[in-house]
Amino acid sequence: MSELLNNILFLPEAASTFAERIDSLHHFVVGTTMVMSTAVGLAALFFFFRYRRRLPAQATEYIVPTLKTEFLFVSVPLVFFLAWFGIGFRDFTWVTTPPKDSMDVYVMGKQWMWKFSYPEGPNGVNVLHVPANRPVRLLITSRDVLHSFYVPAFRIKMDALPGRYTQIWFEATKPGTYQVLCTEYCGLSHSKMLAEVVVLPQEEYENWIQEQRRGRLQDRQDALADNSLVPPVARMVEQGQVLAGTQGCLKCHSVDGSQHIGPTFLGMYDRVEKLDDGQTIRVDEAYITQSMMDPGAHLVAGYQNVMPTYQGKLQGPETAAIVEYIKSLRTPNVREGASEGPAYDAIQ
């Protein structure tokens, strides 16, 4: 029955304890609404037919409702509305009050990605791993503008605000992968700000987090070890390539010379770019670094100032790795001219 209703209502799969509560209230509200409005509608249709006009200037009786009728008009809807509200508010209090034993995850939204971090590590971008059947409290904030963290399968949503934390909690019931959508309009790539929640069975989750933490430790030991035998530049280029993907650079900058929201990385290094204030600049390490930290400082002509700053989001070595990656994208057989404007036409 409720399966059928869910299909009629196009509800997505329900994968959290809160989703079950929401869906049952949803069914109750839709059910009573349909019954009552059908009754009102049928009454109206009956009246339209029964009391159709028979004479052009027909006279009618003067009818006013009794106090009892008016009382019914007020009390019947009020009782239903308050009943729905009672259930709804109970559930709302429940979802905004995390249980004491819940596990914390910090969520940070920024244009246009989600960052997740666990108090003991690790950190991740756009993929949140959580164990099934365990309450998880999300502490949500934003780096720049408003965002909203929405998981349709869990029926939860909470805004991400700059300068403060909001919280919401959930308990996933089924292992699987669920989409995260941003539901507060946040600019150009709002609709691309997608992430996913991976719900793992408790044991697999333990293994996963152990591995992640071990991996971090490994990295740290690698850093201490002597790795002079590895050619450093090549490693940095690879690292930069990975970073350009995870940090979202490639959402706006292409690497094959095609036009997009930002200038292409291909052949960018050492190119002479025309700026929007009419000056020209030779793209060097300093300019690339500055553009990451303060994107609006020197804007290439024809592009919008839409890139978020990476100040504080990238470590020194990471910035250097991305610069190295961009430097590596130089081939003698691509055009070396200045960028030719963005992929979209600005409205004039």
């Binding site: 009246f47 007020v74 508010f89 709302f92 605000l161 309009y185 150009l188 709002h190 004039q348």
Partner: protein
């Protein structure tokens, strides 16, 4: 006093078909362009408003169709992301500030209010003309800003995005700020008119319900509009000079913006929908030849909605980080607004009881209106249950909900008013058959557009998405198909009404045999509405009792 209230044309020739040789109707009393542009006649001002709101409705409608076409495919279809973001922003702005807020009060309110009160004009005719030009000045500034860059913030201008975006925010916000004054001026004018210009016999509880609705609307306009005016100025200076009012890095608060914004914009929903309720009270009484069932209940519920509507704004912010307690409070208050609306619905249906229904075009719109009000209202109540809003907030469910209640109800009432009062305004009749066909198309098209959007919201599609996951495509295609149907309906209306305007048969004074007060004057009315001595109104409006059996009713 000259026979014409238009300043420029004292010596206009009367129309040949005019019965009262010395009192030409307002349409031909002065035929120069100047006599229209500088008129202080409330009827001519109403018509000029009609022209402009229809034009802006067309502009907003084109934006709507562009959005629907773009959403046909999951990826880019006809425009890029930046253009799309600007398009939905402009769709919202044009439709709300330039069409829906002035639509019924400034057009039909202006035209009908003095006629319904037995007055020669509104209380401040010159202020009335000023309100038109303020509106146009604001519209020109906003349009200029839209053409010179356009803004991409959404019509809600949420900070901090609106303070940071590189698009042209300032002129558009300032345009909306100016339009606000037009709204305030009109509101004051109507309030004073209701208080001071009622003809002998028209007591407060004998005012037509349309007047009650306009009165309640005017109170909201006067009280709420200054808040959005202040807010728009704050955002403009924040955007231009970086005041830091809404910037947490400088001690500001982005959520403060939302509180101020919805403190106006929630009552603004009632600015749009209360006049529709008023129109429908007139239409249902006329076409079922009955006094309104529960007249006082309907009148008081308008005031109740206007009052409680001021305290429900926080239901737009259940997941914005506001406290759980505040969420509960705003939720309960929302339910009370719902109860007031339910009272009206029951009383409209009750009006038909033992009436004499004639199923004409305006009555068809009344049926559509009942449908949209019930389902738009009930989905609003569902959103007000707080917990369901957690799932639905900022999804297409909300988009469909407010299009049902705010747009559906307003469009139904606007079209019903246009058809019902077409003979009153122009003295001509339109083709009834085409009227019914267009009404059916529009009601069907509206449902076909927005029912899929309710389901999209259930399915989890967020609003303002340029691209979307593929699982949402089939419902989006269905919605676009519905929007096409809707557009056809409007094209048909534009054609047969334009035809009727030029070639329509003369309608006579009162083609619907209505006993609404506005039908006591000629159609179209002479410049000063009533000829001869001050008209009196012994009976209440819409009193259809057989004169032989009529006794003065003791309960109203």
């Amino acid at each position: 006093m000259t026979p014409s209230s238009s300043i420029a044309a004292p010596g206009a020739t009367p129309a040949p078909e005019e019965h009262h040789d010395h009192h030409p109707n307002y349409l031909v009393d002065g035929t120069t362009i100047k006599s229209w542009l500088l008129t202080v006649d409330h009827k001519r001002i109403g018509l000029m408003f009609l022209f402009w709101v229809l034009l802006f409705f067309l502009v907003g409608g084109i934006f709507a169709l562009l959005i629907r076409v773009e959403l046909l495919t999951p990826g880019p279809t006809i425009m890029d992301a930046m253009t799309y973001n600007r398009t939905f922003t402009l769709h919202g702005l044009v439709m709300i500030f330039l069409f829906m807020i002035p639509a019924i009060p400034a057009v039909f309110g202006n035209f009908m209010l003095p006629l319904m009160l037995g007055a020669k004009d509104v209380a401040f005719p010159r202020l009335n003309l000023l309100s038109l030009y303020i509106y146009l000045a604001g519209a020109v500034l906003a349009l200029w800003g839209m053409l010179n860059g356009g803004l991409d913030t959404g019509w809600t201008f949420y900070t901090p995005y609106s303070a940071h975006t590189t698009t042209t925010v300032a002129p558009v916000l300032f345009g909306a700020f100016i339009i606000g004054f037009s709204s305030i001026v009109t509101g004051i004018n109507f309030i004073v008119t209701c208080h001071t210009m009622r003809a002998p016999g028209i007591t407060w509880f004998k005012m037509p319900l349309f007047v009650w609705a306009i009165y309640a609307t005017s109170c909201i306009q006067v009280l709420a509009t200054p808040v959005i005016g202040l807010l728009l100025v704050l955002v403009t200076v924040e955007n231009l000079f970086g005041f830091g009012m809404f910037d947490p890095a400088r001690g500001g608060d982005p959520v403060l913006f939302q509180h101020l914004f919805w403190f106006y914009s929630h009552p603004a929903v009632y600015i749009m929908v209360l006049p529709s309720f008023g129109v429908m009270s007139e239409v249902v009484a006329t076409y079922s030849r009955k006094n309104i069932f529960g007249y006082r209940a309907v009148a008081y519920s308008s005031l109740g909605i206007a009052f409680v509507g001021f305290f429900a704004w926080g239901h737009h912010m259940f997941v914005s980080g506001q406290s759980t307690f505040a969420g509960g409070l705003f939720g309960v208050l929302t339910m009370i607004v719902g109860v007031f609306t339910a009272i009206k619905v029951f009383n409209w249906v009750g009006t038909v009881y033992k009436g004499a229904v004639e199923f004409k075009t305006p009555f068809a719109y009344f049926c559509g209106f009942l449908f949209f009000t019930v389902f738009g209202g009930m989905t609003g109540i569902a959103l007000g249950t707080v917990s369901l809003d957690v799932a639905w907030h900022d999804t297409y469910f909300v988009v469909a909900h407010f299009h049902f209640i705010m747009v559906g109800a307003t469009i139904m009432a606007f079209l019903a008013a246009l058809h019902y009062w077409f003979p009153k305004m122009f003295g001509r009749t339109y083709h009834e058959g085409w009227g019914l066909v267009a009404a059916a198309l529009i009601i069907l098209g509206f449902n076909a557009t927005f029912i899929p959007q309710f389901l999209l919201g259930n399915n989890g599609m967020p609003r303002r998405y340029y691209e979307y996951p593929e699982r949402f495509q089939s419902l989006n295609v269905a919605s676009t198909a519905g929007a096409t149907l809707l557009a056809f309906g409007f094209i048909i209306i534009a054609m047969y009404l334009t035809y009727a305007l030029i070639y329509g048969k003369a309608s006579g004074k009162n083609p619907w045999r209505s006993k609404g007060y506005e039908w006591l004057s000629e159609s179209p009315p002479p410049t000063h509405n009533f000829v001869g001595p001050q008209p009196e109104f012994p009976e209440e409006p819409h009193f259809y009792v057989d004169p032989k059996k009529a006794e003065v009713p003791d309960a109203v």
